[in-house]
Symmetry: C2
C-alpha cells in the first residue's frame, strides 16, 4: 500500500515540477526575457507541454489510480487519489492531435489579436476567433457535458459551478447592479483630485507597496515583486511565489492596488498545506476562489476607510510634503470613484461585474451557437449600451480589449465575478468571527485576516471545491446578496 | 530518408528544449530566485534531469541513429548523426542508479563545501570529497578509457584532448611561466594606484560596460546583463544568451573585465549556425575553445594598450573629473599588475595558469590513486609553495576555494589553461590575417574580430573538435609557445 501511494506521489511530483518549470518560463517571458527570445521560448513551452501531457496520461499513472481507488481509506489520501483521477481523466479526454491543433491556433490567435487590437481591426482577428471557437466547441465534445456545452469549459476554471446556475445568478446581479450604479453616479460628489497632479516617484511607490506587502504577511524571502505590462501572480512552489505590478507616475494608487490584488493571490499560494506540496492538493480548486482572495485584499480591505486611516500617514512618509492637506475622505473619493467606462481592467468596483457579465452572456451565446463570430462586435456594443450606458467607439475599446478569447479561453470570465461574490460572503463571516477585524485593519494589523484565510481557505487546497468552501465558511450557497449589500453600504450613501 | 532525419531532429530538439529549461532554472536560481525557493528548485532540476536522461537514452533515438548512420551522406547531417550518437553513448553508459547517487552526492557535497569553506574546515568536507572522488573513479569505469582513467573525465569537458598529452604540456608551461613571473615581479615598477581611491558609482560602471558590450557586437535584444555572486554566461537559444557580472565600488575595472569575459562566451553562443539550432551542432565542442573566446576578449583585447587608448577617454566620460590626470600607462599598470596570490579567480594573467596547473596535477594524482583525499591540503600547500612561492594560511584560501570538486567535476580545470593557450594561438593568426586589427581596436572598432571569430569558430559549432579547430585556424597543434611569446611581449619588458 505505502509503496503504491509513494509511487503515485513521485509521478505527481514529476508532473508538478514540469508545470513549475513551465511557469518559470512564462514568468521569465513576461518579466525578464529579451525580445528576440520569444520564438525559442514558444518552442520550449510546447515541448514541455507535450512531455507533461505524456506523463499526465501515462498507463502507469492509470494503473496506480485504479489500484489506489479500491484500497485507500485515509481521507486526505483518498482525496488526492480522486483529484489525480480527475486530472488524469481531463488530460486523456483530449486527443494528442487536438492538443497540438489547439496550441497552434492559440499561438496564431494570440499573434493575430495583438495586431488586430493595435489597429482596431476585428476583421483580421475574426478567422482566428472562428477557429478557436470551433476548437472550444470540439473540446466540449471530447470532455462531454450535461446541460449546456458551456459546462465542459467552465469546468477548466470553476469546477462545481454550472451554466444553468450562473445564468440567472448573473442576470439578476446585472439588473440590480445597473440600478445601483445609476443611483451612485447621480448622487456622487464632484471630482476632487487636483491634489494628485504632478509625478509620483516610482521608487517611493515601490517602497510603499513593499511596506503594505510586509504588513499583509507576504514573505519576500519566498517571493519577488517585479514589473510587467500585465500584473500577475505565479508560483513554482509554496516557497517561491512571485508577483508583478505596473507603475503609473501620475497615480500613486494604481500600482498599490494591483500589488495588493496579486499579493492576495500570492498569500493563497504561499499558504497551501506543505504536507501536500508537489501534489494537486496544494493548489486552489478554482479561479473564482483565488479571485475571492485577491479582490478581498484589493477592494474590501485596500479601498476601505479603515485601511487609509492607517496607511495615509504611511503614504505621507513616503512622499514628504505631497499629502499634507489631503484627508482620508479625499483619498477614498479618488480610489472609490464610480464611472461607467469602456475598459474592464481599468473599471471601478461598482461597474466591474457589468463588464464581466456582458462577456459571460456573449460567450454563452457563442458556445451554444446563438451568436456568430461575425456578429460579435455589434452584440458587444449593444451589451455595453444596455449594461453600462455607453457607446463603444471602436473594437479596440470593445470586443478586442481582452486577451482571453485569443487564447481560446472560453468559460474564464465569470470567475472574476464569482470572486467578487465569494469575497463579500466570506468577508462577512470573517467580520462576524473576528469582531475587531476593522479595528485591526485601521491599526495596520493585517495578519489576523491572513491567518483566518489561511485556515479557512489556503490550507484546504483542493480538498474541497469552491462552492463547498464558501458553504462551509458562510453556511450559504454562492450568491449575490452579500456583495450587493457590501456595495450598498460602501457606496449607497455617497 | 527525409522523415527519419526530421524525426531525429524532433527528438534532439526535445532534449535541447529540456536543457534550455534547466539552464533557465539555474540562471534564475543564481540571479532572481528568493532564498526559500532553493529546495524546490533542486527538486525541479532533478526531475528535469531524469526526464532528459530518459529521452537521451530512448530506444527510438537509438534506432534512428543506427538507421541514419548507414544512410546519411550529406556531411553536416552525417556530423549531426555522429555527435548525437556520441551523446547517446555517453548518456547510456551511466546507469540510472549511478546518475541518482551522483546527483545526491553532488547536492550533499555542495552544501557541505559551503559550510566547510566558510569555516575553513576541511575535515567537514573530506568525507564528501571522498565519496565524490570514488564516484568519479566509478564513472571512469562506466565510460571506459584508454591510458589514464583521467581521460574518461576529461572527455566531458575537452573532447579530443588526452591526459598523456596534457601532462608534459602543462608541466613544461608551469616551469617556463614560473621563471617568467619571477623575472617580471623583480623588474616591475612600484605600485601606482592612489588615483583609484574612493568609490566608483555602479550605475556608471554598468553604463560603461554596456557601451563596451555594444561595441563588441553583443546583441542585448537577444541577451541581458545582470548581477550574480559568481559571474557566468548561459543560453537557452541563439537568440537568448545572458551574462552576469559583479560590481566592486572600489574598483572600476573588475566588473568590466568579468563582463568582457562573459561576453566573449556570449558572442560564441549568439554565433552558432541558426540552420542547426536546437541540435548538438549548435554548441561548442569543448570548454577550452569556449574559454579561448572569453579570455581573448578579457585579456588579450581588454588589457591591451590599444583598447585603453580608445576606452580611457570613454571611461572619463562616464566618471567626469575622476580620471583627468590618469594616463593609459597608469591604467595598464593597474590592470596588468603581476603578483603571485592565493585565489585563482582574483589572480593576474601571468600567474593564472600556475593555479590551474597545480589543480590539474593534484586531480590527476587523486584520480590515478597516488594521492588520498586526507593528504590533499598538504599536497595543495606544497604545490602553491613550489609554483607561486607563497604559503597558504588556511584551507579556505587553499584547497577549499573552488566549487568544482564539490560538484564532482574532475577534469574541468585544465580547460581554463587550454583556453589561454588556444586564445594566444588563434589571436596570432587573427593578427596575421587582419593586419589592421590592433588599429581597429585602438579606434574602438571591435566588430572585425567578432566577425572573424564567428566565421572561424562560432559557426563551426560541434562540427569539429577543439584541437581540430585550432589546427585548422593556425596550422599548429595546441601548444604553449604562442601564449608564452604573448606574455613575453606584454610583460617581458616591464
Amino acid at each position: 500500500m505505502h509503496t503504491t501511494f509513494e509511487r503515485l506521489r513521485e509521478l505527481l511530483a514529476e508532473i508538478h515540477d514540469l508545470s513549475a518549470a513551465m511557469s518559470l518560463l512564462e514568468w521569465d517571458m513576461e518579466v525578464m526575457m529579451p525580445p528576440k527570445g520569444a520564438v525559442a521560448r514558444g518552442a520550449q513551452l510546447a515541448t514541455l507541454a507535450a512531455i507533461r501531457h505524456r506523463l499526465q496520461t501515462s498507463p502507469e499513472l492509470a494503473r496506480l489510480l485504479d489500484d489506489l481507488a479500491r484500497r485507500t481509506t485515509d481521507s486526505d489520501e483518498a482525496r488526492l487519489v480522486a483529484e489525480a483521477r480527475h486530472d488524469y481523466e481531463r488530460a486523456t479526454k483530449l486527443p494528442e492531435s487536438f492538443v497540438r491543433r489547439f496550441a497552434e491556433a492559440q499561438s496564431a490567435g494570440c499573434n493575430a489579436w495583438l495586431g488586430a487590437k493595435a489597429n482596431s481591426d476585428f476583421a483580421a482577428f475574426r478567422p482566428h476567433l472562428e477557429t478557436l471557437l470551433e476548437l472550444a466547441r470540439e473540446a466540449t465534445g471530447h470532455y462531454g457535458y450535461e446541460g449546456s456545452p458551456y459546462n465542459a469549459l467552465l469546468d477548466n476554471f470553476e469546477r462545481g459551478m454550472r451554466a444553468e446556475r450562473l445564468r440567472p445568478l448573473l442576470a439578476d446581479l446585472a439588473a440590480r447592479q445597473k440600478q445601483l450604479v445609476a443611483r451612485i453616479v447621480e448622487r456622487q460628489a464632484p471630482r476632487d483630485d487636483a491634489w494628485m497632479e504632478g509625478t509620483w516617484d516610482i521608487v517611493a511607490q515601490r517602497a510603499f507597496s513593499l511596506r503594505v506587502l510586509a504588513d499583509m504577511g507576504y514573505d519576500l524571502d519566498a517571493g519577488r515583486l517585479d514589473t510587467a505590462p500585465h500584473p500577475f501572480c505565479t508560483h513554482f512552489d509554496i516557497q517561491d511565489v512571485r508577483i508583478t505590478t505596473r507603475y503609473d507616475e501620475r497615480d500613486p494608487f494604481s500600482a498599490l492596488f494591483s500589488t495588493m490584488h496579486e499579493a492576495g493571490h500570492a498569500l493563497y499560494d504561499q499558504g497551501f498545506d506543505p504536507a501536500w506540496n508537489r501534489t494537486p492538493l496544494a493548489d486552489a480548486p478554482s479561479l473564482g476562489i483565488h479571485e475571492c482572495n485577491s479582490r478581498m485584499w484589493e477592494n474590501i480591505v485596500g479601498r476601505s476607510e479603515a485601511f487609509w486611516t492607517h496607511y495615509l500617514p504611511v503614504l505621507r512618509e513616503h512622499f514628504p510634503g505631497r499629502l499634507d492637506g489631503v484627508s482620508v475622505g479625499q483619498v477614498l473619493g479618488v480610489v472609490n470613484r464610480v464611472a461607467p467606462s469602456l475598459i474592464r481592467v481599468e473599471s471601478d468596483e461598482c461597474t466591474y461585474n457589468l463588464h464581466v457579465i456582458a462577456r459571460f452572456e456573449l460567450e454563452m451565446d457563442l458556445i451554444e451557437g446563438r451568436l456568430a463570430v461575425a456578429d460579435l462586435p455589434e452584440a458587444w456594443n449593444a451589451r455595453y449600451r444596455e449594461y453600462l450606458g455607453i457607446e463603444v467607439p471602436d473594437d479596440a475599446h470593445g470586443c478586442l480589449q481582452d486577451v482571453h478569447w485569443s487564447h481560446g479561453m472560453f468559460g474564464y470570465f465569470p470567475t472574476y465575478t464569482l470572486g467578487n461574490l465569494y469575497a463579500a460572503q466570506v468577508f462577512e463571516t470573517a467580520c462576524a468571527e473576528m469582531p475587531t477585524l476593522w479595528d485591526d485593519i485601521a491599526a495596520g494589523r493585517l495578519l489576523p485576516l491572513r491567518e483566518w484565510l489561511r485556515t479557512k481557505i489556503h490550507l484546504v487546497g483542493r480538498r474541497r471545491m469552491a462552492p463547498d468552501i464558501v458553504r462551509s465558511i458562510t453556511g450559504s450557497e454562492p450568491a449575490a446578496d452579500a456583495f450587493l449589500a457590501y456595495l450598498e453600504r460602501k457606496f449607497g450613501a455617497a
